[in-house]
């Protein structure tokens, strides 16, 4: 007996067409009232008039447009959907309160050219955030101008260069070598190179830390302008010789720049300024919970010692008396502007809200939770995955695919399979010095329940890699589309749609 029900194809295609392909001749999303003026009296110059009758534009209704973009938005994975353990990226939750503060009309609608007397509140926000960040880093000089991490890095390196030129005069031209560990972010050598330095690479020890002997050897050459160091480094390990490292570089006449990408392991617990660091950048979009990636823009404040302060970008935001704030352009040794206006202001509001809602204790607790979470994952997975460095990790932990690769299952496959379990993959193949690296940073934004789910998923993938490698090699299976051909996409990219 038949049921009389005819099976139909799925109503909403997960393979959404392009908006151009959804076009139906004659379909429109608006209806204008009749023109009640004489068209010939409209004085629009000919060069501004379209005469192609919107040729090639999609013909769609309003509801077509809304559904098209809403459907596509459901394919996204975001920090609001689940854990996003990208190592070195600090994908923590961005609280709604911060968003609300950033939308306060008095701030959001303030024109950047408003005179300082009419923008006192906005300047106070900048000033107060500067004070907090200076306290957190232990470095009193600060500029919030840089627009992102690499920009803050470059600002810091330009400050080092300006300082050396002022200190050494013509002799500074012989001091153009920047030392960078082999575990560093790729932006470090790029910033050094753009600022006119040549780069020498410092090796890491088997333990995963900066090789002090190699550092001493490189410093002995006498051309060292400085060291760019990430701490904790990109292996998630705290450079416990940091004071000694700074001393070696200082004795060689160089300065120490710290990449603040991993500050989420230190805030409220340890201060780079106390370790001997001269200049650091922070990523408000990582450590201070302002939106990240597509949700940006970023913000990469640069903090430095009193000695380097005169070289910071202008304008400086200063207090002229108890309750008045002003813009100080009178800094003759400044490297100048690095960004239009004052930087990405909305991010400063969010970061200030984050800092104030946490308070001293809250910031420290967030750091402790971030480190504890990473260590919980480290302990949870050490029996299933190769952990190349024995040391206890800080806020992120690195594993490799060494055990799984014997069965032909590699890091990329494990990352793709993780998508089937509902998690965003971790950072893969970075740091470059670790073959088949998987860098996991859970942040403080996940609780034990979700950490356990993540560990279970990774353990399950480890057994699949042994029992059913094909399952992992062909992942993901439960996504809208399967494994992408990344090589062809990179070799022969299709960058725009053509009819």
């Amino acid at each position: 007996m038949t049921t009389g029900i005819t099976k139909v194809t799925k109503h909403i295609s997960p393979n959404e067409q392009l908006i151009f392909e959804r076009s139906q001749t004659g379909r429109i999303g608006y209806r204008l009232p009749a023109l009640d003026v004489d068209e010939s009296t409209l004085d629009i110059p000919a060069e501004f008039r379209r005469d192609d009758d919107l040729e090639g534009m999609p013909e769609v209704s309003e509801v077509d447009v809304i559904r098209h973009f809403i459907r596509m938005s459901t394919w996204n994975y975001s920090i609001d959907l689940g854990m996003y353990p990208l190592g070195s990226c600090t994908m923590k939750y961005n609280s709604r309160l911060n968003e609300r503060v950033a939308r306060i009309a008095g701030f959001a609608n303030l024109h950047p050219l408003t005179g300082e007397q009419d923008a006192q509140g906005a300047l106070q926000v900048i000033y107060e955030l500067q004070q907090h960040l200076a306290e957190i880093t232990g470095l009193p000089g600060i500029s919030l101008q840089p627009a992102a991490g690499a920009h803050g890095e470059m600002t810091g390196i330009m400050i080092i260069r300006a300082f050396l030129d002022a200190r050494d005069g013509a002799a500074a031209s012989h001091r153009r070598t920047m030392l960078i560990p082999d575990s560093a972010h790729g932006t470090n050598p790029a910033s050094a190179h753009l600022s006119g330095f040549s780069v020498k690479t410092i090796k890491s020890t088997a333990e995963g830390l900066t090789d002090l002997d190699h550092l001493r050897e490189l410093c002995a050459h006498g051309e060292v302008a400085g060291l760019m160091l990430t701490n904790p480094n990109t292996l998630g390990l705290f450079e416990r010789n940091i004071k000694q490292i700074c001393e070696i570089v200082h004795e060689a006449g160089g300065l120490v720049y710290m990449d603040g990408a991993n500050m989420n392991a230190l805030v409220g617990v340890a201060r780079p300024g106390d370790m001997g660091v001269d200049v650091i950048h922070l990523n408000l979009h990582k450590t201070f919970s302002t939106p990240h990636g597509g949700g940006g823009p970023g913000s990469g404040p640069c903090c430095c010692t009193k000695e380097l302060e005169p070289f910071l970008p202008v304008p400086r935001i200063v207090k002229s008396n108890e309750s008045t704030f002003r813009l100080d352009y009178d800094q003759p040794r400044s490297i100048g502007r690095v960004k239009a206006f004052f930087g990405n202001y909305g991010m400063m509001l969010r970061a200030l809200a984050y800092t104030l809602t946490h308070g001293n204790d809250g910031l420290r607790e967030a750091t402790e939770a971030a480190v504890l979470n990473a260590r919980y994952i480290a302990a949870g997975l050490v029996d299933d995955y190769d952990k190349p460095f024995a040391g206890a990790p800080m806020h992120e932990v690195v594993f490799t695919d060494k055990r799984q690769s014997r069965k032909g299952v590699h890091t990329l496959d494990i990352a793709k399979r993780l998508i089937d379990y509902g998690f965003h993959p971790m950072t893969i193949y970075f740091p470059l010095i670790v073959q088949g690296a998987m860098l996991i940073e859970p942040t403080e934004s996940v609780g034990r329940q979700e950490l356990d789910q993540f560990i279970d998923a990774m353990k399950s993938i480890a057994s699949e890699a042994v029992e059913d490698p094909e399952l992992v090699l062909n992942a993901p299976h439960d996504t809208r589309i399967g494994r992408l051909d990344e090589a062809t996409a990179a070799r022969k990219p299709v960058l725009r749609w053509k009819p």
């Binding site: 790729g186 990329l412 193949y429 073959q435 990344e486 090589a487 990179a490 070799r491």
Partner: protein, 130 residues
């Protein structure tokens, strides 16, 4: 197991050198291409550029990472493999043949003797992947 031809010289940075009179043809090893994964772009120097031994002469970009490539021997670039601009995948499919990168006129041909033999390189990669 990665292919390691007998007649070539090898560096610890995973380049190979094929000696042709006073010239050297340089590329990356099978082990290197396998570790890098699918190569999507190869950046090479210009003919005439001079390099010291162990200097970076270009970079190889794969879907995983960008890695520098080094000259195992000093010399001036005579010729580069232009076809890698359009077909970088040759580095994966034929690393010792059509995937070669540069040809240099060696300033000190004796330098090749300090490089690894095939057997030594094979031991070196085994130790590295331990």
């Amino acid at each position: 197991m990665a292919n390691v031809p007998e007649d070539l010289h090898y560096s610890k940075d995973h380049e190979w050198v094929r000696v042709d009179g006073d010239q050297a043809i340089i590329g990356i090893t099978d082990y290197a291409q396998d570790s890098l994964g699918d190569v999507v772009y190869v950046e090479l120097p210009k003919a005439g550029d001079e390099f010291a031994a162990n200097e970076s002469f270009g970079s190889v970009e794969s879907v995983k990472a960008v890695s520098e490539v080094f000259t195992p021997v000093a010399g001036a670039v005579v010729k580069i493999n232009e076809s890698l601009a359009d077909e970088p995948e040759t580095v994966n499919s034929d690393p010792y043949g059509d995937g070669w990168m540069i040809r240099v006129k060696m300033s000190n041909p004796g330098e090749v003797d300090s490089l690894l033999t095939a057997a030594e390189y094979e031991d070196f990669t085994k130790a590295e992947s331990e």
